[in-house]
Amino acid sequence: MNRLRRILGSDLLWSFTRSPGAMIAATVAFGLCLCALFAPLIAPQNPFDLASLDLMDARDPPVWLSGGDHRFLLGSDSQGRDILSAIFFGARISIGVSLASVALALVIGVSLGLVAGYFGGRVEAIVMRAADVQLTFPAILTALLINGAARAVLGPGRVAGSEFWVLVISIGLSFWVQYARTVRASTLVERHKDYVAAARLIGASAPRIMFTHVLPNVLGPVLVIATINLALAIITEATLSFLGVGLPPSQPSLGTLVRTGNDYLMSGEWWIVFFPGVALAALALSVNIIGDWLRDALNPRLR
């Protein structure tokens, strides 16, 4: 923890205040997260409340264009749903899925990495070979496969309602490799240090040594990977939803909103797809910029 605090204390903050990009990105990300978090309180309309929807309001353009309705700041979709409200709620779902899947990937990856690095031998060989094979393929493909398998297990009709967790599992299981590799490498280094030997000598158990002594020393790189992965998870979730194997239109994430809105692009109703797309891009971009900055700040040699 000490090391983490030292890093956070001095140079990190200094570099943050001198990096306008990172500051803007952090503001945007923070703002979007607030909107998502408080969506039920601040959204002009509850997009899930079918009673409040009126088909008469469908496909209204944004308020500054002719035909715009003051109730729909960014226009409305084909069911008369307020785009702005849909974005708030969509961001809520997108961020929820992404955070949960990064957490899942982190837990799996860090545990496997610690175990592989600490025990070595056959455990290590199996974990690292699995990582190698999985790394042969892009994460999106792995996520799609796990997603397809989950659909087959649940049966075609029974996916409804569990899409959220299907997504979390598909994305989480696709991103664990990087954590495992990093943590294993650091664990290998730490394992041979004197303090680990000392801890073992006084009879500390293996899990205790790993979590109280080794883990804190690998947190820096894990933090960087997690931030960069969060952006990837946001994009992956949106992509899966866009491909029609993510969240359904009844419970739309930002990707789903783009998918449904895409159908109206040809008829010129661009706002239905444009604003959710911008929100998605802003979210992914700002998280990515923060991750990029964090990596550079923690690893000054790369600059």
């Binding site: 799609l144 496969l145 087959a152 491909l243 891009a281 992914a284």
Partner: protein, 325 residues
């Protein structure tokens, strides 16, 4: 050197075997194949007959052996959703994906390497900074958004390019190509830019990072101290030394292009393997998924192997079987 080649081939086979096992597990244990194939109204007796016919009541080992044997002949049975042989389905769609991936790869490499080299040599130039900012946007924007944006601008607004499909195609033997007609080429433009853009930024950023790294190397300093021209230092010494890692990544990226074509094909309704795969995921069509998985695995492994062997051509240290690079 022989040892190196054998080791790489061994690794490739291992990946293929593991993927085949996964495909088998998917095929056999995920969901009930019989339920997927027939409707609710088929009687229990009919189901049993079908089960026997398909050999699903044989022992697992026999089934695995049969699956592997069939997979070796690229026979994955019948698609649940199309009721057609998977091999036929995939073969009909392969050329579309291949041509799209090829065009996208060429675009990514031909633009990516020079841009990366330039930004690596002059990291502080205005153009480099602009590119770095743009590339971050390129990496962060989901592919499908870029595709939609292109469609809106060039198909809906300007009406220069078609928004979906392959245009006119020409059948040559078993291959259906879009390279030979004007509309086929026009239809290829937006999908290949969409598909290649992400890889382009990755390649450029990688070349840049490697260039920056190599530029700090002693032998570059020494090359400068020898009074060589900037051009000789930058290209003959620096760029060549970045190529080893760059070739690896480019190889892997070309593999990813095949996989990422799933997204591009969906956006542009491009009738390739990706579009087939995504409908199979939506409908839990396991045989098609298994076949696609094997197909992609073979492509990936072949590319990886080619990349490893390319090392031999670039890096003399491996060629002699001495220390690894």
């Amino acid at each position: 050197m022989l040892h190196y080649v054998l080791k790489r081939i061994g690794g490739a086979i291992l990946v293929l075997v593991v993927v085949a096992l996964i495909a088998f597990v998917l095929f056999r244990f995920v969901g009930d194949p019989i339920n997927q194939m027939v409707g609710q109204d088929v009687s229990v007796a009919d189901r049993e007959r079908l089960r026997q016919m398909l050999g699903l009541d044989d022992s697992i080992v026999v089934q695995l052996a049969r699956f592997l044997w069939n997979a070796l002949h690229f026979d994955f049975g019948v698609s649940y959703q199309f009721k057609e042989k998977v091999t036929t389905l995939v073969a009909a769609r392969f050329p579309a994906t291949f041509e799209l991936s090829l065009a996208a790869s060429i675009f990514a490499i031909v633009v990516g390497i020079p841009v990366g080299a330039y930004t690596g040599i002059r990291p502080k130039a205005l153009m480099s900074r602009a590119f770095m900012a743009l590339s971050l946007i390129g990496v962060s924007l989901p592919t499908f958004l870029i595709g939609i944006l292109l469609i809106y601008v060039f198909a809906v607004r300007l009406q220069w390019l078609p928004s979906y499909g392959r245009g006119e195609t020409v059948q040559i033997g078993f291959w259906r190509t879009g390279f030979l007609t004007k509309s086929g080429l026009a239809a290829l433009v937006m999908p290949s830019i969409t598909l290649g853009l992400f890889q382009l930024t990755l390649i450029a950023r990688l070349v840049r990072a490697e260039m920056l790294e190599v530029m700090r190397a002693d032998f570059i300093r020494f090359a400068r101290a020898r009074g060589l021209s900037e051009r000789a230092v930058n290209f003959r010494h620096a760029l060549k030394n970045t190529l080893v890692p760059v070739v690896t990544i480019i190889g892997l990226q070309i593999g990813s292009i095949v996989a990422f074509s799933i997204i591009t094909e969906t956006v542009f309704q491009w009738p390739g393997m990706g579009l087939l795969f995504i409908t199979s995921v939506q409908n839990a069509d396991i045989p098609v998924m298994a076949a696609y998985l094997m197909m992609v695995a073979i492509i990936f492994v072949t590319i990886n192997l080619t990349v490893d062997l390319l090392y031999l051509a670039i890096d003399p240290r491996i060629r002699l079987g001495s220390a690894q690079a």
